[in-house]
Symmetry: C2
């Protein structure tokens, strides 16, 4: 049964083992495997392949995968016949030619996520994508069954993105040594405490480490989760030194990684987590690293970088497709996240707004309600807010800490993610404030489709009252009939108010109900009103 | 007496009438007047002068001032001897040489305002400058004594910046024709209603119009007010057509204006008011206009551009020295303006946050208290908030509307500006949140100098409680003794609390008073706590 399952997945993802298979689904992956014994460092060999297909020619970089084998991976982006030819200084790797047929994508394959318009995302096939992600830094690097449990938890929770570290995290000095590293080890010595000190050969990679990460990313693809892969992080503290690589080593690593992984349709590049804490890397390195990733990714996957709280980055640079922000302040009140959106004019993801958890610090101790509140403060204005939870039994016991090592969710807010996504998926268009800065409460999702989030306020009723201005949609007119649904975002209920409302003519900037109608509200916080046209 | 006064002012500003005067104060103005009869359009003549002085060489552009006279204006930026030589294709304008001695600046002359560090301003002589400005679009273009009354009002109120339009504003169809225009009139016809329709010669300027603006800017300099000159605006509506000039005409106008006025030490360039409403100008024109101004201003005066509410501009471009923002949302609550500051990493001036007034609209009907509240919400985090007031007796009667035509202030908030500036001027450093996004209430002005704005909240007491983190200053230590002053920003009182506080050791992120001390507060809104070290 297991064998059968793997075989099916192979077909589903269009992963080829060699030349034999010439059909691959759109946004699937085609892999060419070329045996070659070379002199010197095989990781130094330049190998590219040019794929020419319907309306598109793409040149992709190959890579050495160990065992005297070079590989080229390709993600076809249009259906139809593609021909390819390789280029290399090594004769046996040069002028290798072939043809593949790109067929319709399989079920659940919508292609990579792209920026849609100014503020939002869509899959390549045109399906809307609202990112509702979580975070687990080290889940891929944990031993045993835990990674598979993490994938199950993600599937159950309905998160559709995860932020995760490519390099293993050094949680504390007693955190065990990982079983694999991405680079070849030149030498291991011991420090005065008997701990290993590694000397790396940054010019030689360990393909098994990359293959493991790739397998994890493919598992995420199967459950519709985008892999927001964090390429550098400061949580190494010099233990392994991946937070202080020379510039050249960093560039080499990024070129190798993008050659291997650009063909993964669910990959996103996050240059760093808290890049400003990588104090051994010079600030100007980040431009070089960013350019390296963008220039070596022929598919232009989503790309951003993450800073410490409220530091903000130059996300206006064209290399960054969206802003990946750490700052809770913009989602702590009404309309604030809209200001960030208005400034950057790109999709905004608040990737860190503090986490649900029980940690004895200010960033890991939100209640589930507070996270859900922050999530909706972001969502209501058309920005996105990433989840994370860190429940720990003891300051040194990371075993239950999903943020750290994945596994099983312990908290409360994750249970509301599926319901939240239902509300989002029902929208005709992404949310946007109707009248930015003049009315921080009322959002539109199109003509005669409004949402008002009530946040923490508990009030007995809501008087029908909408702005005339409706963002980039036509202004609200007189005589439109609306129903109002009261959505309890915490308790996950939707109750339709039994009376239909009908708009007055505009009174200055607002319209009201002709009968001065009101909706009685339950005495609960975290309510959301959905106000939509009825016949 | 009037003659004597003008003579003194001439000396004070170092304005020369010709070659005779060879001493000019630093950041004063030296003017060379060169008679020349030329063929063709004298405004087409290129004339420059290179001034070489201590450590600096500056090339400035001259201009045709009518009456067969060309002029070169120069603002020396260092004390000492400067020599100059002119360049032109016209022999009589070429190779004119001379020397001037730049002497110490006179009283009240601190030089032009420059950006200081990341978020703030200083005068060229190092004196701190906190912009507390107001707005009067058309004050220069009003007939009679009104402009002089405006200057008196500005002096009385202690505003130190004013936003004002270079081109006259078309308030309504009945607004009278101005007595002068900046361009030569080719032809006047009448429309079907008998109103004049002008055809302009955009290649020929009216020097008298520019001279009038210059005289107004000099009057502002004398009372220490920076002239934030708005170079384009949409409030023409096609009546005179200055909102829809061809690109070439716009560039020509900006080159002429900068040649005439870059030597005015108190000039700031505001490319436009609500640039996005100038719908007849293509978006890309603004890059050209901005580059024209910056490249033709040898002194790099402050430069920005202003948009409609919440639209925000690419103030990260190097040409913009600061952000000139229209948006009330960031100053409607605690810490929000800090987010804007954190993103742009430049000085932030909220140049339009709605206005105090009695207009029947949402932008001109703030109470004086509400404006003062927004002012302090900006100031407390180290951003700046411009004032404006528009009191009108009738929707068509602009005579009392300071925003429109200047004159005399009618409102309440302007009376608090002098007091506000006293508080600012007493700061050892500009304000900045101690712990951005974690504590949106507490600001620092240096080591052991804090300010907390209480806004609209009325509460009986304030328990001594400060963050350990103190922005870029050393962390707050145990055993520091503080006094607390309760400043009523509306009633303009300062009351020192009689008990001295002494800090505990940090308790996580906060420090408290060793005796759990509290300050009893008056039952008033708009209070500000100033918490400073005592011996």
């Amino acid at each position: 049964m297991k064998y059968c399952c793997s075989f099916l997945l192979l077909l589903l993802f269009g992963i080829s083992g060699g030349f034999a298979q010439d059909k691959v689904e759109c946004w699937g992956r085609y892999e060419i495997s070329l045996p070659a014994k070379v002199k010197g460092n095989p990781f130094d060999i330049e190998l590219t392949a040019t794929f020419s297909g319907p309306d598109t020619t793409l040149t992709v970089r190959g890579f050495y995968d160990g065992n005297d084998t070079f590989k080229i991976r390709f993600m076809p982006v249009n259906q139809g016949v593609w021909s390819y030819v390789t280029q290399s200084e090594i004769p046996v790797l040069n002028e290798v030619k072939g043809r593949i047929e790109c067929i319709a994508p399989g079920k659940g394959n919508h292609g990579p996520v792209k920026v849609d318009g100014t503020y939002n995302f869509k899959y390549a096939d045109g399906t809307r994508y609202y990112p509702v992600g979580t975070t687990s830094y080290d889940w891929m690097h944990v031993a045993g069954n835990q990674p598979d449990q993490t994938v199950k938890s993600l599937e159950l929770s309905k998160f559709n993105k995860i932020r995760m570290l490519f390099f293993v995290q050094n949680f504390d000095p007693d955190y065990p040594e990982p079983s694999m590293f991405p680079f070849e080890i030149k030498k291991i010595t011991k420090d005065e405490k008997g701990k290993p000190v590694y000397e790396w050969d940054f010019t030689r990679f360990n393909p098994a480490y990359f293959a493991h990460v790739e397998a994890c990313v493919d598992k995420l693809a199967r459950i519709g989760v985008e892999a927001d892969l964090i390429l550098f992080h400061p949580y190494d503290g010099g233990r392994w030194g991946f937070d202080r690589m020379p510039l050249e080593a960093g560039v080499r690593y990024l070129k190798y990684l993008t050659a291997r992984m650009s063909s993964f349709r669910n990959i996103w590049w996050s240059l760093a987590n808290e890049y400003d804490f990588l104090r051994e890397l010079k600030p100007e390195y980040w431009d070089t690293f960013t350019h390296t990733v963008v220039e070596n990714d022929p598919y232009s996957h989503l790309c951003s970088i993450h800073t410490y709280t409220a530091k903000y980055y130059k996300y206006w640079e064209p290399e960054y497709t969206h802003a990946s922000i750490q700052d809770q302040a913009p989602v702590e009140g009404f309309g604030r996240a809209a200001t960030v959106k208005n400034i950057y004019k790109k999709p905004i993801i608040f990737d860190e707004v503090c986490y649900e958890g029980n940690m004895d610090n200010r960033w890991g101790s939100l209640s589930g309600q507070e996270y859900l509140y922050r999530l909706w403060q972001g969502l209501i204005v058309g920005t996105y807010v990433t989840h994370g939870e860190c429940y720990m039994d003891d300051p040194k016991d990371y075993s239950r800490d999903f943020l750290a090592v994945g596994g099983t969710f312990q908290g409360e807010s994750w249970k509301r993610i599926g319901f939240t996504r239902q509300i989002l998926d029902a929208l005709p268009n992404p949310l946007h404030l109707c009248d930015s800065s003049w009315d921080p409460y009322t959002s539109t999702a199109g003509e005669n489709y409004y949402m008002i989030y009530l946040g923490k306020e508990i009030k007995p009723e809501w008087a029908f009252d909408l702005p005339v201005k409706n963002a980039f949609y036509p202004r609200l007119k007189e005589g439109v009939r609306f129903k109002v649904e009261v959505i309890d975002t915490w308790n996950m209920t939707i109750a339709e108010w039994p009376v239909v409302f009908e708009t007055t003519a505009p009174v200055k900037d607002r319209v009201y109900d002709k009968n001065q109608g009101r909706v009685r509200l339950p005495a609960s916080p975290y309510l959301l009103l959905r106000i939509t046209e009825v016949e």
